[in-house]
Symmetry: C2
């Protein structure tokens, strides 16, 4: 899958939080944002937007290596082995601190210093 659809859409609609993994000279790094935040900004077919408060290491990492993996999960969606399903989203991310996309993020989250724009390349349900 290359789009957030079907069961993955359902997971994104219900996940409490979302993990965003990057890699850099200090090794792997993972930050989180609330599911509410990405939902408020609209779960696009091909991109996710994340308001950035701190996330300074994530910013440093994606400047050197834009590859990211994003993970959502919830017990509220049924999986193959019982209650609980996940969704992995692989893509490339960049930081925007000006422009129309940033303005849209800032309008909803006045504390945001930038927007993390995740361009989706692969979407894979988990469990």
């Amino acid at each position: 899958m290359t789009k957030i659809e079907g069961v993955c859409k359902e997971v994104l609609e219900k996940t409490e939080w979302v993990a965003i993994a990057t890699a850099g000279k200090d090794g792997p790094h993972v930050v989180a944002t609330w599911g509410d935040y990405v939902r408020a900004l609209g779960i696009g077919d091909d991109q996710l937007l994340v308001p950035m408060g701190y996330m300074s290491k994530t910013e440093q990492n994606v400047k050197l290596d834009s590859r990211v993996e994003v993970l959502a999960g919830t017990r509220q969606v049924a999986g193959a082995h019982g209650p609980g399903k996940g969704c992995s989203i692989v893509g490339k991310a960049h930081v925007q601190a000006a422009g129309a996309t940033f303005d849209a993020v800032k309008a909803k989250f006045p504390w945001a210093r930038a927007a993390l724009v995740v361009k989706i390349e692969k979407v894979e349900p988990q469990l």
Copy 2:
């Protein structure tokens, strides 16, 4: 902090799921396990245990670079900016598919093919 204590312990006790980030030749990778699973195996002062079903890329990654970052989060613990707190755990991980630790994991999770043993180096509350 180098131990899971205080508010971080509270987050681990309440988080629905836990994200585990590694890095490898394909870039950053993040998998998840349920909070129930790590709690069932006991949240140690200096280590976390994760039952491995698949997690093959995580296994490949830690064989080459044992650094991991683990993240938990929940709206059920108050943060500085409202409901919601996270906990980041940085450490080194290895896979055990035999021995006493694996036996203890297998006893609780018969489907586990191995145990991911995370040795904790740094614990940091988020939000």
